[in-house]
């Protein structure tokens, strides 16, 4: 009797193994499908990506998704990639590292995508790029500038923005250091979010300004989920710094610091915030439009930039979403452009290593400008320096990209 029971138990096991071996269970992808009705034909080229559509990074994640989709639509409308229609599958990693690893494994192994595109934020791209590297597939990421990304000796990784985190504010630092003696700041306070992006941005500014003789009077790091900036603002204000520089990747903490400074009633001569001011309406509504005057930030994209393909991108985005594209959507679009350039130049997708090598040796024109990379996959250009002026976002540096001739200095007091 016992033997029969054992046998009956083992049979399904064997059956399951056989089925597993033969099948490999395809799971229909839950991603968003196809685009236009262009002249692309043949078997679709599958591109896989994971994005934080929910969770801490959901705002930029959704924007990036839009960027990828606009690109897909445009490519398919104009003949596809290597003549084949492109189909991007996007999975939601919920801003969670575990999920992002699972997602990319699924994309590579189960859905057997031909090409990959990256996710948003250094935190997520760090493990995801490792999956890609292990599988020897090209990995172009739209956002993830932490220096950590590029110190691992990866060969397949490329970052589709102008510079890594510690260089994001270079133009600001150079400008401030180069002011005439009566305007040049003497003291500075640095406030950074404790994440792979925020810290390096603030450190980058600090090292350049200290080298130029600006004294550091306050330098602290806060947990990224901090919402109560009262004590920090109070401490910063008590030191009366000329410059306040904040490194952060999000919206809430930048707004939090600004509001707290307003409550204290302290307005520095120069205020630089790494990303928050780029959130357009959300930012200006949060602190009041009149308070945005003079705030600096670094940005990778500007809607009026005369970069190749920008007009078409802008038009397509506006037509679909009725508003100006946020920076993150543009970054995603640019990443897809980089991928496209490599594929078209090499002419095939079979040799991922060849694609990577081509990118290392060449530069690509994108809506962010021309991008090129060093051996580690880190880009070698500089971010744009932007400033809120008269309720508008303007590019003030570099000269060949600027949309405004003036730089507001010093920042006017809070209203």
């Amino acid at each position: 009797m016992r033997r029969i029971v054992w046998l009956l138990a083992l049979l399904p096991v064997l059956a399951a193994l056989v089925v597993a071996g033969c099948g490999g269970g395809g799971e229909t992808s839950s991603g968003t499908g196809g685009g236009g009705t262009g002249t692309a034909s043949g078997e679709p080229m599958k591109i896989g990506a994971s994005l934080p559509l929910t969770g801490d990074f959901s705002e930029p994640g959704v924007a990036a998704q839009q960027g990828y989709q606009i690109w897909q639509q445009q490519v398919n409308d104009s003949g596809g990639l290597l003549g084949r229609p492109v189909k991007i599958t996007i999975k939601d990693d919920q801003s969670d590292q575990n999920a992002v690893v699972t997602d990319y494994n699924a994309l590579i192994q189960q859905e057997k995508v031909d090409l990959l595109l990256g996710t948003f934020s250094s935190l997520l791209n760090l493990p995801a790029s490792a999956v890609a590297e292990r599988n020897q597939m090209l990995y172009v990421e739209p956002a993830g500038g932490s220096p950590e990304m590029f110190s691992r000796g990866f060969k397949y990784l490329f970052f589709a923005q102008q510079a890594t985190a510690e260089h994001q504010a270079d133009l600001f630092s150079q400008w401030a250091a180069g002011l005439p003696a009566d305007q040049k700041p003497k003291t500075a306070a640095y406030v950074a979010a404790d994440d792979p992006f925020g810290g390096p941005v603030a450190d980058g500014i600090k090292s350049q300004l200290e080298a130029a003789g600006v004294q550091t009077v306050y330098s602290k790091v806060y947990p990224p989920e901090t919402t109560n900036f009262d004590a920090i603002a109070s401490a910063v204000a008590s030191k009366k710094p000329d410059v306040i520089a904040q490194g952060s990747a999000g919206l809430a903490d930048g707004v939090g610091l600004d509001r707290a400074l307003i409550k204290v009633g302290y307005s520095p001569k120069q205020l630089f915030q790494a990303s928050t001011p780029s959130f357009a309406d959300q930012f200006s509504k949060a602190i009041g439009l009149e308070n945005t005057e003079g705030i600096f930030y670094a940005v990778s994209y500007h809607v009026d930039a005369p970069t190749p393909g920008n007009e078409e991108f802008l038009a397509a985005y506006k037509a679909k979403y009725n508003t100006d594209p946020p920076e993150d959507a543009a970054d995603a679009y640019a990443a897809a452009q980089v991928l496209q350039a490599a594929v078209e130049a090499v002419g095939s997708i079979d040799d991922q290593e060849a694609l990577a090598n081509w990118l290392r040796d060449n530069s690509v024109d994108t809506i962010l400008g021309t991008l090129s990379w060093d051996d580690t996959g880190a880009p070698e250009q500089a971010f744009l320096l932007a400033q809120w002026q008269n309720g508008d976002e303007e590019i003030v540096l570099p000269d060949d990209a600027k949309t405004s001739d003036t730089i507001v200095n010093p920042k006017p007091p809070w209203k």
Binding site: T227, N228, A231, I232, S234, S238
Partner: protein, 293 residues
């Protein structure tokens, strides 16, 4: 020196709000031995409700307290009847698990209803401060503290001078005896839980003005609240007030003089030190050792 005093001022102002938030938690524990880990999530839920009222109907959140408090009272009552009620007889750890589960459900539901992005109610005064010499008192904090004190006073009056309050106090001393003298234990327990949750209605409205929040913020809040009631003595309302003020000041001091990074550790350190060195907290009562818990 100025900075020190200013830091203390900020700490006390926020401590006053913390006191209101913690009062509900300590009340529930005192009466039914349940640590309601979902209190943080309920707080955020109330904040979302207040925010929605402000966003859609233009009602200032501090006025909105009058709406959110009864709403949360009803929710608390329903929660008790559906879930917490069935916990009696189970070991203490099960109550922590159940309320944790409820917290997760509430967090997920909030994310689905309002999305996982930061929200904040921003009436005109939220950026302004009162000035007294070289010190500043942010208006939102002052108003919030005022509302908190008001609600706490009401709570105190209820506990000391109404029949329900007496029944609650009796129940927290000894459930068996309370039953013997005619207290409807089930009913009073449900009402107590509802009252405890109702305090989050007021508290949530206040914090919707003070700081941005998203569904996941509840972890920060519940850890603070736990730290407060452990410090003050679990089950003691005056203890909750003392603990709240102490924690508010401790947090502000840590941010100012040590680093904002370590400020998040303050509640946990308080919990560990107090539970290990003096488990009854500042004002709690010690149990007889031979009573089999």
């Amino acid at each position: 020196m100025t900075q020190l005093v200013q830091a203390i001022i900020l700490g006390l102002l926020i401590g006053g709000v913390y006191a209101l938030l913690a009062s509900g938690l300590t009340l529930i524990f005192g009466v039914m031995d349940v640590i309601n880990v979902a209190q943080g999530a309920l707080l955020i839920l109330a904040a979302f409700l207040a925010w929605t009222l402000w966003q859609e109907a233009g009602i200032d959140p501090l006025i909105g307290v009058l709406i959110t408090t009864p709403a949360m009272f009803v929710l608390g009552f329903v929660m008790y009847k559906l879930t917490v009620q069935w916990l009696s007889g189970m070991p203490a750890s099960m109550s922590v698990l159940l309320t944790f589960a409820l917290a997760l459900v509430i967090e997920g539901a909030m994310g689905l209803a309002w999305s996982t992005t930061y929200h904040a109610a921003t009436p005109d005064y939220f950026d302004e401060s009162y000035r007294l010499g070289q010190f500043y008192f942010p208006k939102a904090q002052v108003y919030g503290c005022g509302v908190a004190v008001g609600v706490l006073a009401l709570l105190y009056v209820m506990l000391d001078h109404t029949w329900l309050g007496r029944a609650i106090r009796a129940l927290s001393e000894n459930a068996q005896s309370a039953r013997l003298v005619g207290v409807n234990v089930r009913g009073v327990a449900a009402l107590t839980f509802a009252v405890g949750v109702a305090t989050t209605g007021a508290g949530g409205s206040i914090i919707s003005v003070l700081y941005p929040f998203l569904p996941g913020s509840h972890y920060q809040w519940i850890s603070r609240l736990l730290g407060i009631i452990v410090l003050g003595g679990m089950g003691s309302l005056p203890g909750a007030v003392v603990g709240a003020l102490a924690l508010g000041v401790a947090e502000t001091m840590t941010v100012t003089y040590i680093s904002p990074r370590w400020a998040t550790a303050v509640p946990y350190v308080v919990i560990m030190v107090v539970l290990l060195a003096r488990p009854q907290g500042i004002m709690g009562a010690k149990l007889r050792e031979d009573v089999v818990v």
